[in-house]
Symmetry: C2
Subunit: 371 residues, 2 copies
DNA sequence: TTGTATGCGTTATCAA
DNA sequence: TTGATAACGCATACAA
C-alpha cells in the first residue's frame, strides 16, 4: 500500500477544529457509512476489504478523528456515562468507594458524572434531573442515611435506568444495594474484645438515623448473649442524629468524657465508627487513661486516617473499594440486560467485614479502668 | 384558561419512555419550534403570546419533559459539562478541592466528569480522550507533580477548551493555574516557631518531584535569613520521591526516628505536609518525646485529619475548597469568552495560606530536646 | 464490498 | 406571532 497516499480534506480551512466522520470519509475516499462500519468494527466490517480498513484507520488516526459521544448517543442511545451521587463526599467513608467505582467504570470505558448532594434533598433532586438530561446509563448512590423516598429512585427503573445504592438499602425491588454485613461486623468487634478478656465494655452506638446503627448493635447483642456477657445499660450511649459526617469525632470525645466523669468502670470501648473511636481515644488520653494499656478501643469502617491515628486503630474494615466496584458491576449487568432485552433482577449484596487489629486494643488488665 | 384542556399525545403507547419536544408540541398543539423558543426562553420568546407560553410550559411540566442534553449539544455546541481530573484522589488534599469544584459548577448548572489518573500517564491520556469525546467545555486538573508535558494540555487550548491546574502550574501561557503561595506558607510556619522561641529546628523537606517543595523551602530560608536564624544542615532531611500520596506519613515517621537516633537536638520540627508531620509526631511520641512539650511540630495543608490528630496539628492551611471554586470561575471565564468570541487571558493565581494554631506547637522550653 | 438515505432530539433561519 | 425546514455527527437499513 502506498503509505504516502495524500489525505485530502476539504475544509473552510478556518475555525472548525473538530474532525468529523465526514472528514475521514473525504480524506480516505470512502463514504461515511463505510468509515463508521470500520471504526466501530461493526458486524458488517467482516465484509470490508482489509485494504480499505487499513486506509480508513490510517486516515482517522492521522487526522486525529475522535467520535462525538453526543452524536453517537443520539443514534445508539448509549451515553457511556454513569451518574455517581454522594450524599456527602466530606465523609471519609466516601473516598475509597469513589475510587472503587471510578476504577471499575474505567475498565469498561465508562465515565462517571460526579454529584454531591451535600445532604440536601433539593440538591439531590436537581442532580438527578441533570443526570437524566445527560442520559446516564445507570446511577449509583452512596449514602448511609435516607431522605430519598422510594419514588425518586423507583422512577429511574421505570426509565430502565438501573440504580444501586452503597451503604444503604431501599425497600422494594427496584434498586440494587451493596452494604457491609453490619451485624457480622458488630459481632467481630465484640468477639475480639471478649477474647482479649474484656468484660466491662462501654458502647457508643450510632445515631438512629443511620441505617448501620441498628444491625451493628444487634450483632453486638447477639454475641454478648451467646457468650453470656452482660451489657451494662449505663455503659451504653447513643450518638445523636447529625448531618455532619465528621460529627462522630466530637460525639466520641464527649461521650467518653461523660463516661469518665460518671466514674464508670470499663476496660474497653466499642465505637460506632472510626471517627467516634478516635474522638473517644482523644478524650481518654486527655483524661490520663492510656489506650490500649488501660482501655482498649475498637472502631468501624477502617477509613484512611485510622491507620495513622495514635494509637493506630483496631477496627472492623468495610471493603469500601470493593463495594464500589461491585455496585458498578451490579448496575452494568442491568445495563447490558437492557440492551439485550433480557430480563434481570436487582440484587442485594452484603459484604463481609474484616477485623483489622492494630494498636488500640490489647488484653484486659486484671484490674478495672481508671479513677 | 381551561385548566382541564386535555393533553393529547400520540404514542405507540409502548416502550418509548422519554418525552421529547415533539411530544410537548403535539400535546400543546404548537410546533416544535415554538416549544423550543418558549422552553428556552429564547430571544424570540418576546413575541410569543402569553397564553401560548403558559400552555406549553404547562404541558411540558405535566408530561415531565426533560431536554436531551446530547441533542441539544449537537446544535448549541454546549455540553454543560466540565472534566475534572485528579492525579490521585487518594490524596487527602483532593477531597476539599473536589468539593469546591463541584459546588462552583453546581451553581452554574454544570456537571463534572470525574477522572482519576491513579498517577499513571496512560490513564491520564485515556481520560483526556474520553473527555474530549464527551466534549467537555473545560478541564480542571488537580495535581501536585508533573508528568504531563505541555503539549497534552496545550492541545486543549488549541481546541478552545480552557484548562486550569490546581496545586501545580505549567510553563507557557495556555493553561491557567491556582496554587497556594508556598513561599509565604513556608515563612508562616517558621515565623510561628521562631516567635515561640524555637531556635533549634529540624526540617523534613518535600520530595524533589513535587512542585511545592522548593518554594516552601525558599520561604523558610528567606525568613531564617531575615531573622538571623541559622539552619543546621544536619537537621534538614528531604523526603524521597514517591507516587503514593500517603507515603509522607511513613517518611515523616522514619525521618523523625532517624533524627532521634542521631541524637540530634531540636525543639521543633517543620514537616513538608500534614501527613509527614503526623508521622513524625508518631515517631517522637513513641520515642518518649512529648509533643508539644518537648518538641513542637508544624504541618502544611490542613487536611481533614489534622484537626483530629493527637495532638491536634498546628499547620499552614491551604484554602482548598476556595482553590477549587476559583479554578472553576477561571475556566468558565474562558468558556464565556469563547462563546462571545471575545479574547481572554489565562490567569495564574497564588492564594494566601493561613496559619492554624492548634496543639502541636508551644513556646520553646529552656533546655534542648530529648536525651 | 461499499454507498445512499434516513432519523435520533434540538435549535436556528427563514417564511408565513 | 408561529411554523416549516435544515443541520448538528453518527449508525443503520437498504440498495447497488
Amino acid at each position: 500500500m502506498s503509505a504516502e497516499e495524500p489525505i485530502a480534506v476539504k475544509r473552510a480551512s478556518g475555525k472548525n477544529l473538530t474532525i468529523t466522520m465526514k472528514d475521514v470519509a473525504q480524506g480516505s475516499g470512502f463514504s461515511p457509512a463505510t468509515v463508521s462500519i470500520v471504526l466501530n468494527n461493526a458486524p458488517l466490517a467482516r465484509y470490508i476489504a482489509p485494504a480499505t480498513k487499513k486506509r480508513i484507520e490510517e486516515v482517522a488516526k492521522k487526522l486525529g478523528y475522535r467520535p462525538n459521544a453526543m452524536a453517537r448517543f443520539l443514534r445508539s442511545k448509549r451515553s457511556r456515562s454513569v451518574g455517581v451521587m454522594f450524599f456527602d463526599i466530606t465523609d471519609p467513608f466516601c473516598t475509597p468507594v469513589l475510587r472503587g467505582i471510578e476504577n471499575a467504570l474505567y475498565q469498561l470505558s465508562y465515565i462517571p458524572f460526579f454529584c454531591d448532594a451535600h445532604n440536601q434533598r433539593n440538591r439531590f433532586e436537581r442532580y438527578l434531573e441533570m443526570l437524566l438530561e445527560h442520559h446516564v446509563e445507570a446511577l449509583i448512590v452512596v449514602a448511609n442515611w435516607l431522605f430519598v423516598d422510594i419514588h425518586l429512585l423507583a422512577d429511574l427503573s421505570k426509565r430502565n435506568i438501573p440504580a444501586a445504592t452503597i451503604g444503604w438499602e431501599l425497600p422494594g425491588d427496584t434498586v440494587s444495594s451493596v452494604m457491609v454485613d453490619n451485624e457480622a461486623g458488630g459481632r467481630l468487634a465484640l468477639e475480639h474484645l471478649y477474647q482479649l478478656g474484656h468484660r466491662k465494655i462501654a458502647f457508643i452506638r450510632g445515631p438512629k438515623m443511620l441505617i448501620d446503627s441498628a444491625p451493628r448493635w444487634r450483632g453486638i447483642q447477639k454475641f454478648a448473649h451467646s457468650a453470656g456477657l452482660e451489657i451494662e445499660p449505663s455503659l451504653v450511649l447513643q450518638l445523636p442524629d447529625s448531618f455532619d459526617p465528621n460529627s462522630g469525632f466530637e460525639g466520641g470525645y464527649r461521650f467518653a468524657e461523660e463516661l469518665l466523669q460518671k466514674k464508670k468502670r470499663f476496660t474497653a470501648l466499642i465505637a460506632f465508627d472510626d471517627l467516634t473511636a478516635i474522638g473517644a481515644i482523644r478524650a481518654l488520653t486527655r483524661a490520663g487513661v492510656k489506650v490500649p494499656e488501660q482501655c482498649s478501643v475498637v472502631g468501624f469502617d477502617d477509613v484512611a486516617l485510622s491507620a495513622m491515628a495514635a494509637p493506630a486503630l483496631t477496627t472492623v474494615r468495610q471493603p469500601l473499594e470493593a463495594m464500589g466496584s461491585l455496585a458498578v458491576n451490579t448496575v452494568m449487568e442491568g445495563v447490558n440486560a437492557g440492551h439485550e432485552k433480557r430480563d434481570w433482577n436487582i440484587s442485594r449484596h452484603k459484604m463481609n467485614p474484616e477485623l483489622v487489629i492494630r494498636d488500640s486494643t490489647r488484653a484486659a488488665a486484671l484490674t478495672g479502668s481508671d479513677d
